[in-house]
């Protein structure tokens, strides 16, 4: 019977886990993200409200668990048939209305409290008022990458969402409108907010107001097709100045550099332009990520690989080698063309 105690230990283990989360259980990501992508180190108001509710619900659940667990163990141990049993049946008890009433009313009260606590957080997260200065971003889910449009600033980025840090004196929350170009997706960066789905032919929204700078990891949380697993997501939270600098750069067109003219010619002459935009060229496709400032990103292929020349070359040569099932086809370029086009991509800063 001792094995049945295991669940109890697990619950206790979970509480310990949360405490270590409170102490800042840092799982360092090689690419500089500050902590493991979990809800127990919130860095934004929605995530924080959920975190506090989670602690409350966990404590209530743990209390219920310990009570019922102890009662079960007690009755199993106390009322086991002993070896000295006289073989007679125990007293036949059919029920008791008082006892039934007690264990009906108590759970009702607990449920009411949990409901009220949840409703409060639902209201605070779903029905906020946004201060002036709120950043508007439109996130569009694609198989299997993220498009981020900044309508106020007039440019489009991909896969890495840049937002300014928001402090309580000068709040600059980011309001994200969620759309989908194909199937269902879900935007989930646990340290910043709960997830919200991106559903085609439907407009959803969510908001974050990160209190600290850094890279926050997440990924698509609604099964969206073959490469759902590598539809990763990162939110880069920057100081106001860094954010403005990043915006100013993103608004630039791609610079035309003579040394990579051959690569640009390969890009413009192949089917690349059907799907990809590079502002200032004839590449105006919108099916794939905007590449105008490709090199300002830390990763490629929606986070599946770091943005290095080698990975870029591997990716252009055959995307399936990095992300089998990705929607980008292998472009059948020869080695020279590959070198040229990678050199061109490396110039897109």
């Amino acid at each position: 019977m001792i094995l049945d105690f295991q669940p109890g230990l697990i619950i206790l283990g979970k509480i310990g886990l949360i405490q270590s989360g409170l102490a800042g259980m840092a799982v360092t990501d090689p690419s500089g993200a500050s902590a493991g992508p979990h809800m127990f180190s919130p860095a934004s108001t929605p995530a924080q409200s959920i975190y506090h509710l989670a602690l409350f619900v966990l404590v209530v659940a743990a209390a219920i668990f310990l009570t019922v667990f102890s009662l079960l163990v007690y009755s199993i141990v106390k009322y086991r048939r002993r070896s000295s049993d006289d073989g007679r049946e125990p007293p036949q008890v059919y029920g008791s209305n008082q006892v039934e009433l007690a264990w009906t009313v108590l759970p009702v009260l607990i449920v009411v409290v949990l409901f009220l606590a949840s409703a409060r957080v639902i209201h605070s997260v779903q029905d906020p008022r946004f201060p002036p200065g709120t950043i508007e971003v439109t996130a569009v889910g694609h198989q299997f990458w993220w498009e981020f449009r900044y309508p106020q600033q007039g440019f489009v980025a991909a896969n890495e969402l840049h937002v300014p840090v928001s402090d309580s004196k000068h709040p600059t929350p980011t309001h994200i409108t969620l759309l989908s170009a194909d199937t269902d997706h879900s935007f989930w960066v646990p340290r910043l907010a709960g997830k919200t789905d991106l559903i085609p032919n439907r407009v959803n929204s969510m908001w974050i107001d990160p209190h600290e700078t850094g890279a926050f990891l997440g990924q698509c949380a609604q099964y969206c097709g073959t490469q759902h697993a590598k539809m990763l997501l990162r939110v880069i939270v920057e100081s106001r100045e860094d954010f403005e600098r990043w915006v100013a750069n993103q608004r630039q067109q791609a610079k035309s550099i003579d040394t990579v003219a051959r690569g640009r010619q390969v890009f413009e002459a192949t089917a690349c332009v059907n799907c990809h935009t590079v502002a200032g060229t004839n590449g105006k496709g919108t099916f794939g990520p905007d590449l105008t400032h490709l090199m300002s990103r830390e990763t490629i292929a929606a986070g599946a690989a770091t943005n290095t020349p080698d990975n870029l070359r591997l990716w252009v040569k055959n995307p399936d080698d990095i992300k089998p099932g990705a929607r980008m086809p292998a472009m059948q370029l020869d080695n020279q063309q590959l070198d040229d086009v990678v050199a061109y991509l490396l110039s897109l800063r």
Binding site: L3, V68, E100, T196, D197, P200
Partner: protein, 561 residues
Amino acid sequence: MADAAPISRPIFPTERAASKPLFEYLHEWVITVDHKRLGILYILYALTFLLIGGIEATIMRIQLIVPHNHFVSPQVFNRLFTMHGTTMIFFVAMPILFGFINYLLPLMIGARDMAFPRLNAWGFWMTAFGGLILYFSFFGGSGLYGAGSAPDVGWFAYAPLTSPAFSRGHSTDYWIIGLLVSGFGSIATAINIVTTVLCMRCPGMKLSKMPLFAWLNLVTGGLVLLAMGPLAAAQLMLLIDRYLGGHFFDTQAGGAAVIWMHFFWIFGHPEVYILVIPAFAFVSEIIPVFSRKPIFGYPIMVAATLSIGFISMSVWAHHMFTVGMVSYANAFFVASTMAIAVPTGIKIFNWLGTMWGGKIVFQLPMLFCIGFLFQFLIAGLTGIMLGAAPLDWQLGNSYFVVAHFHYVIVGGILFALFGAFYYWFPKMSGRMYNKRLGLLHFVLFLIGFHLTFDFMHIPGLLGMPRRIYTYEPGRGWDMWNLIVTVGVFFQAAGILVFAANLLWSYFKGKLAGNDPWDAWTLEWTTSSPPPPYNFATTPVVKSRRPLWDLKHPEDPDWKYE
């Protein structure tokens, strides 16, 4: 007169299968309309699919044992989780429960068969063909497009991933039609269960004198009738979308993906209770017998079951807290979801009350029921956590959810089912199971279950989404996934021991006799296995425990009920 024994002992000896030519023997099974044979067919069919679904799960866990593993390709992984989920729900859990209900219900209410024996056979064969159609997709899934494939849309097949644009070939059609066909079988069985409970009870068995088993499965039957319709409707609409130019779920032409979700979960959430209420029914029969006391608070248990059935029809959108419903809709579904915890809690307390003051005998069926109690308690509590919508925004679609519902289905339903297997195996086969093998099965499965599903909660809490064929290292998920996978092998070993035990005991087990557990319900009055007509003379009962009355004429139940 009032104290006269109400039940006649069987007058015919146990019938063992006489030796017949194999073909004739199989032919008898194929054409049978006997509820006991159909019950056993359901159970054997479901056990076969349990092995298949288990193998699919094992392959997935091997793929996830380390990050960036290449054991299977993403396409294969996506097919595996689709087939695993669909198989386990529709072709393991439902048929196995229907099998037990079919076998036991007439015996427990003193009837000679179900109300509609031929409909019963039809229901079974529809379910069986449904499973075969689904699995034929491995060969015919891509139709004229080339090599075969199974569906890869997930077991809840969210639109628009099922639209022709994203799901080419015929794999999704096999998924739709397989489930439609088996769904009609389920509806037939539900009609049969409800009618049997309402019309076929033996003299003296008023509704208030039925075993809880009959009450609970009456509610199950009602829920099946209510829930299968929306699923069938949605699947027909999807077929219309796919082949007749409909746009119900076709988002590119103005259709709504969210409507599919509503339809699916209006089926999908009652489905959870369709599966768990029969498990409650097993536990409600087994715990009293091995505590040597009647069930505590019978009327309250009935009321709690009815209210679970009722409330379960209004909680479906807690599967959809992240789809962008307005705040008051989310709040409503939080309230209804949490409300269902009350009658469920009452049930756990009543089982506790049944054990309290009893003399608990730790036979194998009882061990599994005790496992059920602890595990179902935890599953309920994680359910409450997920029912708080804001927590669901973080935990929904993560491994926490996967751990939660496996805790319900494996830790709750499957443990109760194993209890039922060992409890009624002597009745069905006429022989006792091997107790040592049974204990080994219990220990292995308990260890495996807790290794797998306790630790599966943790990567979910740490932000690992479900349905990913691989994951990034360095996010704190690696070790937990390793432990989870190790647990799977313990479970697999447990299942093999269980299968071996069934086979060995069927041929070599000790003869069990009519009533090996000193139990109280009518199935124990007849021989093991029961003759085709069940009872030589129709029993007459005066209380919920007719055999108690028979064994204790000095202190019968009917004086107190």
